[in-house]
Every structure is written in structure tokens, then in C-alpha cells.
């Protein structure tokens, strides 16, 4: 999708380079995780996808639309939805139903079609029956699912999760991740999720590692997350099974292959005898 993107933030009397010649490409229907520690530029990168930030240099096209072209901005934002980090700062109404309709109303969807689309979006995130509730009264995971429904109602092709699980408890995080998986399998949506929790990238198709505004590496989760040296350079801690593998290795016990999930770890350990 994108080639050689650079971006600098301006501030009084200077600028800071946030992205330095990033190349990224996401295929249709792919689930791509972008990992990096705080302040590495991953949020800056994805904010280019729906033209929240203007392209300063490089080329980028999303869903066949040239991002640099101002005429495309609104179509881009419909085709490419975004869920943000803080669940509380995304709501415009104190009724779930009205909040989900907000995006549809922005695109002048005929009044008659709106309630059907709202209901469909709520069903996709497993929140039927919450139409009349107030978002304030929901749990964090439920709030994020409502925010996601607000995006889904516009029927986007691409959905970006900008650290959407960072402020949730483990249960809420689990809820969101299972919805993401379902969206990809049943709805064939392209998903880009950025995160600093490596565990969330395990079920992605491809992983990009970002450090200081540059892409350090990209590849399958197995290639990326089991490479201890690479993870250290990115400033990330590998998932628990990988850490166990290296600890065991240091203690003189070598497993046949490096496990990525807990199940694989159990299997490998059982195979030891």
C-alpha cells in the first residue's frame, strides 16, 4: 500500500522526525500487526491510512485511493475505519444506538436504512440488545465493541485498531481480540492492529516491527516473535512461551522448536522425555 513514507512533527522552532522512510504493504483480507514500543511512530503511521495526518513525503494508496489527493479524504474515511485507544473519548451520544448512527449520518445515509445497519453492526460485535443503553454504563470491553460497531456500520473494507486494547483489562482485551478474529474470518475485512502487546500479534498473518520511525523487520509472527535479538532491538518483550524456550535453553534444556503459544509450549515440553 505505501512506499517510503516520512513524517515530521513540527514544534516551536524545530521538528522531530517521527517516520523515516517507512515501506508497508497490506494485502486484501490480511490481518497485519504493527508492533513497537511507545513513541516509535506506529500511531503516526496508521493515521496516514485514513488521512488524519497529511502525507508529507512518499506515496500511499489505501483501497485503491491515493491518500495525497484531498478529494479522496471522505471516501477514504468511510472505507477505512479506525478504533482508538481510549474508549471514553470516542462517544458522541449517550445512547449506543445514536452513537453508532453518527458515522452513517455523516455520510447522509437515508434515515430509513440507518436502524437496520445499526442492528447489523451490533450483531457483528455481539452486543445485540444494548441499543438503548448509555455507553457510560458499559464495561471497557463493551465500550470498545460499541466503538467498533460504530465503525462497522459504515461497512468499511479496512479496519485499523490504534492500540484499541491498551486501556482494557484482560477480559475486555479477550473480547476485542475474539471479535477481530471473527471479523476477519466471517466478514473478510482487512485488519491492521497496532499494539505493544506482542501476545496480540501471535494470530496475525504478518507482523511489522517498528523502532524509532523505521521498519526494523517484517514477516510471519513466528519469524518475528521468536527472534530474541530482534525483539530486544525493537524494545519489546517476547511472548511468555518464547521466553520460557530461551530460559530453558540457557539452563541446558533445548526444545525441538521454539513455541509461540501456550499449547505449543505444553506440547514441546511433553515431548522432552
Amino acid at each position: 500500500m505505501g512506499k517510503n513514507i516520512s513524517y515530521s512533527y513540527m514544534y516551536d522552532g524545530g521538528f522531530a522526525l517521527a517516520l523515516d522512510g517507512v515501506d508497508i504493504s497490506v494485502g486484501e483480507g490480511e490481518l497485519v500487526a504493527v508492533l513497537g514500543h511507545n513513541g516509535c511512530g506506529k500511531s503516526t503511521l496508521v493515521k496516514h491510512f485514513n488521512a488524519l495526518l497529511q502525507l508529507q513525503s512518499g506515496e500511499l494508496s489505501v483501497a485503491g485511493l491515493n491518500v495525497a489527493d484531498q478529494k479522496n479524504v471522505w471516501e477514504l474515511r468511510r472505507r477505512c475505519g479506525m478504533v482508538f485507544q481510549n474508549p471514553d473519548n470516542q462517544f458522541v451520544s449517550s445512547s449506543v444506538e445514536e452513537d453508532i448512527a453518527f458515522g452513517l449520518e455523516n455520510y447522509e445515509t437515508p434515515r430509513g436504512e440507518i436502524s437496520g445497519k445499526v442492528r447489523k453492526a451490533l450483531r457483528l460485535v455481539g452486543m445485540e440488545g444494548f441499543e438503548k443503553r448509555s455507553p457510560h454504563m458499559l464495561s471497557g470491553g463493551q465500550k470498545q465493541r460499541v466503538a467498533l460497531a460504530g465503525v462497522l456500520a459504515m461497512e468499511p473494507d479496512i479496519i485499523i485498531f490504534d492500540e484499541a486494547t491498551a486501556m482494557l483489562d484482560p477480559a475486555g482485551r479477550g473480547e476485542i481480540l475474539s471479535v477481530i478474529r471473527r471479523l476477519r474470518e466471517q466478514e473478510r475485512k482487512t485488519v491492521v492492529m497496532i499494539s505493544h502487546y506482542v501476545e496480540e500479534a501471535v494470530f496475525a498473518d504478518r507482523v511489522y516491527l517498528i523502532h524509532d520511525g523505521r521498519i526494523l523487520a517484517s514477516g510471519t509472527p513466528r519469524e518475528m516473535l521468536t527472534d530474541e535479538e530482534l525483539m530486544k532491538r525493537t524494545g519489546l518483550i517476547p511472548p511468555v512461551p518464547v521466553r520460557v524456550y530461551y530460559e530453558l535453553k540457557a539452563a541446558g534444556l533445548e526444545l525441538q522448536k521454539c513455541p509461540l503459544t501456550n499449547e505449543e509450549l505444553v506440547e514441546e515440553i511433553c515431548r522432552l522425555n
Binding site: 470516542q90 458522541v92 451520544s93 445514536e98 453518527f102 458515522g103 447522509e108 445515509t109 434515515r111 459504515m154
Partner: protein
């Protein structure tokens, strides 16, 4: 999860909930006028009974709907005392130094307190039975004449409704910051006026900063969802006022007129 904040929309299907938001807003203004115009005992009794009836019909949980009044009891109490003791009356029951307690003063105090409480109860009925988006479009259609003097009516209405919707979030935040500052040694509980005043700044500044940050994030989220000014949005169906709405307007206007005539 948090307790239901006061003054927020509470879902319901009572006749009050069903009244068109425009009619409700106009009726509200008429009823406010009625409360302000009331001067006799009978007049107060009438608006009081009417407000109580509204609360009953709307089937709102009383604790939430009247929570704001309960929370401001000290304010009411002080207003009552000020009126009771400082009213210029002919024959005080008792007077000492600058204080003059009189029947006139007590009546005046009760008057003011009742008036403010009624206004708060009425506005709570309005905001608890109307969704923010309905309120927005009602404000929009009522402010339409302002378009002639180039007021961006749609945007103003949107701003008001989003602002209302953020009140509970900010209240929660205030509570949290208060606790955080208490943990660092701020003395909110202290009875000394000086300590209390010193505590205001460490409370207000973080709230301001956070409100700006929230506003920034919200506006980004709104833009990401395709918001480009309130003008190009799906218009709400222009429904003509129904008999129910006209009845509400008529009753409110009648109450207002009666209060005016019996002044």
C-alpha cells in the same frame, strides 16, 4: 461501571419521553416562565403539583432525577438563611446586631428556595427524558431564525449536545483526581478555609488539561468517522407535531398564562 449520573438521558417509554423534543423544549421554557411568574401561595401550589405530576408520569427514578437538588442542600440552606435574616421587614420576630428574623424574610427565603428547586426539577425532567441527539435537532430547529444573522446553528447545537454528554466522564475524572491529590497530601477534607482554597488549583488544572486532551481525541475520532461539519448530515425526518405534542404545549402555555393573570 459507574452510578447513573444526574441529568443524563434515562431510557423510558412514558408519555413524557414520547413528546417531540421541540415541543418539550418550548414547554420547558413556558414552564420556567410560569415558575418565575408565580407569586401567590396558590400559584406555587399549582406549579409544584404540576412538576410532581410530571415526575410521576415520566416514571424517572426519583433519586437520580432529583439528585442535583439533594447535592446542593447546603446552597439552598444558606440562601434560605440569608433571606430569612436579612429581609427588610417592619416587625421582626427578633433582631440582634445586623440580623433581623422576620416572617416576611422566612416567606421570602422559602420562596427563592422553592423556585430554584422547581427549576432544577423541571430541567432534570427535560434532560432525563430526551436523548442528546433529539435535543440537538430540537435546538437546531428552534434556533433556525438565528441563521439570518449567520450563526452556524447546526454546529452550535452539536457542540452543546456533545458537551452535555461529557459531563459524567468529567465528573468521574474530578473524583479520581481528588483521590489522587488526597493521596499526595492535599487536604480537601480540612475545615480550614485556607487549606480548601489551596486545594482548588491542584484539582482544577489537571481537569482542564484532561478536558482539552479529551476534546482533542474526540475531535480526531469524529473526523475519522467522517464528520465534516454538522451541515452535511442525514437530516432528521421533519415530523409535524402530533396531538400529544400540541397538548403538552397548550397545557404549559395555559399554566404560564394563568400565573401571569393572577399576579
Amino acid at each position: 461501571m459507574s452510578r447513573l449520573p444526574t441529568g443524563q438521558y434515562i431510557y423510558g417509554e412514558s408519555p413524557i419521553h414520547l413528546i417531540d423534543a421541540r415541543a418539550k423544549l418550548l414547554s420547558f421554557i413556558l414552564l420556567i416562565a410560569a415558575v418565575v411568574l408565580a407569586s401567590s401561595f396558590a400559584g406555587y401550589a399549582a406549579v409544584f403539583c404540576f412538576t410532581a405530576a410530571l415526575l410521576w408520569i415520566s416514571r424517572l427514578p426519583l433519586g437520580t432525577a432529583l439528585g442535583a437538588i439533594r447535592r446542593l442542600w447546603l446552597f439552598f440552606f444558606v440562601i434560605f438563611l440569608m433571606n430569612a435574616f436579612f429581609f427588610e421587614a417592619e416587625n421582626p420576630i427578633f433582631s440582634w446586631w445586623i440580623f433581623r428574623l422576620s416572617y416576611g424574610g422566612i416567606a421570602q427565603g422559602a420562596n427563592v428556595v422553592l423556585r430554584v428547586a422547581l427549576l432544577m426539577a423541571l430541567s432534570s425532567v427535560l434532560t432525563c427524558t430526551t436523548t442528546p441527539m433529539d435535543m440537538t435537532s430540537a435546538l437546531q430547529s428552534l434556533m433556525k431564525p438565528l441563521k439570518i444573522i449567520r450563526v452556524p446553528v447546526e454546529d452550535v447545537a452539536m457542540i452543546i449536545s456533545v458537551a452535555i454528554q461529557f459531563i459524567p466522564t468529567l465528573l468521574e475524572e474530578t473524583d479520581m483526581i481528588k483521590k489522587a491529590q488526597t493521596a499526595r497530601g492535599a487536604r480537601f477534607e480540612s475545615r480550614s478555609l485556607r487549606h480548601k482554597a489551596e486545594c482548588v488549583i491542584p484539582l482544577v488544572i489537571p481537569i482542564f488539561i484532561s478536558a482539552f486532551r479529551r476534546a482533542d481525541e474526540l475531535s480526531t475520532a469524529m473526523e475519522a468517522r467522517g464528520y465534516r461539519g454538522a451541515k452535511n448530515r442525514t437530516k432528521r425526518k421533519k415530523e409535524p407535531l402530533k396531538a400529544r405534542d400540541l397538548a403538552a404545549l397548550f397545557i404549559s402555555a395555559a399554566i404560564c398564562a394563568v400565573q401571569f393573570c393572577f399576579r
